[in-house]
């Protein structure tokens, strides 16, 4: 039997690193349904969970997979599922349920080219807006985008920590390229991995309200069966968890769901900047396309173009403030992503006309080569766009 944290140095794929990150974060339940290119996450964790006293269930479909991780989390167990585009679509309704019931859980999407069944074995980044708005109603969501197997490991841990801190589903939006890329992954000692668990109720069981915010602004969460009052519903509910069909209750519940994220943007948003200090042109990218962009920055600099990269590690909530401040001082913004302009629209919105914004995109199935970005930068710098 191997421990939950497999301390050591590995040459590992992103999908496997994701599964190991989940275990290191304390995930002990995985409900899933196999789908290319995310199957290896489920396959690996199915072998590992029994070694650490956890449970793996292959559900009948992705709707049930999502429901199962919400249920496991309500019982007090850190839980995760993984999927790709078609399965992500099926999970949407229950992702909304997790948002509404403030249930911590982690959903990994190893993106492939869509729409529909699309190109099952070939990667894309076409689900970024679905991640933001795919479930009905208005809500806040946290989505992270790793750019390497090592980062998938850390960000999966981070996804659990954020989901537990804010009682919210957290999406790990990776892609087939990173999921299937093998690279060095260092798993540190268990004691060096910071893990967070949801705020827990203290004191009187009689007075406990399952949706009453505590000092952190997030409601302490009792596990089913502990003796605390529990009521979980997707209907608009009050702090007791009971359905109350009034506008006032809707306003209060929404203020809680939105506010706990919006008040903590500094804690949630992670970005990384590369050669940005003197950059005149800023590439905005994430996931595998950030690796294209890193190479493009270096190649453009060799041609005398002052390029830099803003890498989005947190994609949702969107790092608006940083884009706004950059737009004020740069000559142009270039978004590189394997879709036909999703994050690009957000960048353009935040730039608000202060700097021109350009997309280097692709409909999916292949990585964008650095040369395409460099060409776009050359044309952009000549004022040709």
């Amino acid at each position: 039997m191997r421990p939950a944290v497999l301390t050591g140095e590995y040459f590992m794929t992103g999908d496997v690193a994701c599964a190991e990150g989940a275990l290191a974060a304390g995930c002990r339940f995985f409900g899933g349904y196999p789908i290319t290119p995310a199957t290896e996450v489920a396959e690996h964790i199915a072998g590992r969970l029994p070694e650490v006293g956890g449970t793996f269930i292959q559900m009948e479909d992705e709707i049930a997979a999502m429901a199962s991780i919400i249920g496991a989390s309500c019982a007090g167990v850190k839980s995760m599922t993984s999927t790709s585009g078609p399965g992500f679509s099926l999970m949407m309704e229950n992702i909304g349920l997790a948002v509404c019931t403030e249930t911590p859980c982690v959903v990994v999407n190893v993106q492939r080219a869509g729409p529909s069944t699309g190109l099952p074995t070939q990667g894309a980044q076409g689900d970024m807006m679905q991640a933001r708005w795919g479930s009905h109603g208005h809500y806040e969501i946290i989505a992270l985008a790793p750019s390497s197997p090592q980062e998938i490991f850390y960000l999966t841990v981070e996804a659990f920590n954020l989901s537990e801190t804010y009682r919210s589903p957290v999406l790990v939006m990776t892609d087939e390229m990173i999921g299937h890329l093998s690279e060095r992954v260092v798993i540190p000692e268990a004691k060096k991995i910071k893990t967070v668990s949801r705020p827990r109720p203290k004191g009187s069981k009689a007075r406990f309200k399952p949706f009453e915010p505590g000092p952190s602004g997030v409601a302490p969460m009792a596990s089913a069966g502990e003796g605390y009052h529990i009521h979980v519903t997707g209907l608009t509910h009050d702090q007791r968890g009971y359905p109350v069909m009034t506008v006032e209750t809707q306003e209060a519940m929404m203020a809680q769901i939105m506010g706990k994220i919006q008040r903590n943007l500094d804690d949630i948003i992670r970005i990384e900047e590369y050669r940005l200090e003197d950059a005149e042109f800023v590439i905005v990218s994430y996931g595998v396309s950030a690796r294209t962009s890193l190479a493009a920055v270096d190649e453009a600099r060799e041609l005398g173009i002052k390029a830099g990269l803003l890498r989005l590690i947190t994609v949702w909530p969107f790092p608006e403030a940083r884009i706004r401040s950059l737009a004020k001082r740069v000559r142009g913004l270039v978004t590189v992503e394997i879709n036909l302009g999703q994050i690009h629209l957000e960048v353009e919105r935040c730039a608000a006309g202060q700097a021109p914004s350009l997309l280097v995109g692709h409909p999916g199935g292949t990585i964008i080569p650095p040369g395409r970005v460099v060409e776009a930068l050359q044309e952009f710098s000549r004022g040709g766009v």
Partner: protein, 199 residues
Amino acid sequence: MMTGKEKKTSRLEIIFTGFGGQGIILAGRILGKAAVIGDHRESTLVQAYGPEARGGACSAQVTISDRPIHYPYVRRPDVLVCMSQGGFDKFIDQMKEGGALLIDHDLVQPRGFDKRFFSIPSTRIAEELGRKMMANIIMLGFFTAITGAVSVEAARDAVTDSVPKGTEEMNAAAFNRGCDYGLAVLKGLEKKAAGRAGA
């Protein structure tokens, strides 16, 4: 042309190609593991992934570098290893000028390639050793000797660490066979060069 005696370049791009089922991806994985775990360098493996799991064209793209690898996809391979004719036909035009071509002698005819290349009957040797499946490991030994892209120790350790339990010794022997074959080829070239210089 690089040989085992030359200094490692800072970034080396390698494509292993063959049929699905020959262990092409495994060869790439072992190579990357040798570079990262054994030699403490950076490496990435991008595996061709698709319906070609068995029988079709298959390739592994490995990059080895002393610096962080930003873009892990191979654009112009420095080394092209072909274990099928289809793989050769598909990738030969991408190979960098002056790159090293390594082929399975019985499976690949380097048609239209008029420069020096390195060949080994890896599948035939594997059959002699009793396991045709080990052709990839023999080729990896040959590759290691010819290119010096990874150290022999790191590669052999990565082989024994990556193959099914109980087959470690057999695979290490296969690796050594490939490696010895490569060293003999290099020695032959050296002799030839020395002979030419002396004339």
